[in-house]
């Protein structure tokens, strides 16, 4: 089940962490450049999704945090117990969960992009 060395996976873990830090900072800025409650109004949120660079930013947040988060979970679970079956099972489970979350989030971004906005 070892397609990548753990050292390579940890480099990916750190790169996704730093990338996520930058894009999430921009995401939070978008919520506080106007009064917080106003930024959550349906029209404003849909307008965000219609902005292509912002939609790309949301997709990158989704991918970076999903990779970082589920790999972090994999590391925690591997620290708790070690055996070939457990390690393979945890790796497969976290990859499947990561892909499912990315697919579901991408669907939201794509559908919200196509919604009408008056």
């Amino acid at each position: 089940m070892a397609m990548l060395k753990e050292s390579q996976i940890m480099k990916i873990h750190y790169v996704t962490a730093i990338g996520a830090l930058i894009v999430v900072a921009v995401h939070i800025m978008m919520r506080i450049i106007m009064p917080y409650s106003m930024s959550l109004e349906y029209g404003n949120v849909i307008a965000n999704y219609h902005n292509i660079p912002y939609a790309i930013l949301l997709e990158s947040i989704l991918v970076l945090i999903a990779i970082h988060g589920f790999n972090g979970l994999r590391v925690i679970l591997l620290e708790l117990r070690q055996s070939k079956a457990w390690e393979d099972g945890v790796t497969i489970l976290t990859i499947v969960a990561m892909m499912a979350v990315v697919a579901y989030g991408t669907r939201t971004i794509l559908v919200a992009q196509g919604l009408g906005f008056e």
């Binding site: 349906y42 988060g69 589920f70 979970l73 708790l80 579901y104």
Partner: protein, 147 residues
């Protein structure tokens, strides 16, 4: 002979959560993991929450009614604190894993304090905790400030 690959971790979760054996750094170790798991749970919940956008303004308003409450804001404050600690402590760990700020190896003298667990690492943990508290205070001013 027991196969090294299949050897079980006999302490399991108890060993993972034991803060007594390794001092302050152990506290940082499990706080990094607990905040990581908490943030992953929030991330999944946030994706589910925002998916209500696709069902129109009414579904979005209904979801906001559920989340934009004092309890929802308190959970968000916790998320702000967790994400700030996790980020700052994570940057410290990236440097530490790269060998920065660990000091030079020395002779193990009693009481055998590891050179790597020095004041730089300890102050890094404190900085993470203080920044998390500051971020939570700012978050509280935005969420409960009546804007």
């Amino acid at each position: 002979m027991e196969n090294a690959v299949d050897r079980g971790n006999r302490e399991g979760l108890v060993g993972w959560l034991n803060p007594a054996r390794y001092g302050w750094e152990r506290f940082s170790y499990w706080l990094q993991r607990l905040t990581g798991v908490g943030l992953l749970a929030y991330f999944v919940g946030h994706i589910y929450e925002t998916s209500s956008l696709t069902q129109g303004p009414d579904a979005w308003a209904a979801m906001l009614e559920l989340t934009q409450t004092p309890m929802g804001h308190l959970i968000l404050l916790l998320v702000i604190g967790m994400s700030t600690f996790h980020s700052v402590n994570g940057i410290r760990l990236i440097f530490a894993h790269g060998g920065k700020g660990l000091g030079k190896p020395g002779r193990p003298d009693y009481p055998y304090d590891a050179v790597s667990l020095n004041y730089k690492q300890k102050s890094g943990i404190w900085v993470a905790l203080i920044l998390a508290a500051v971020a939570m205070l700012y978050g509280a001013s935005v969420l409960f400030g009546g804007e």
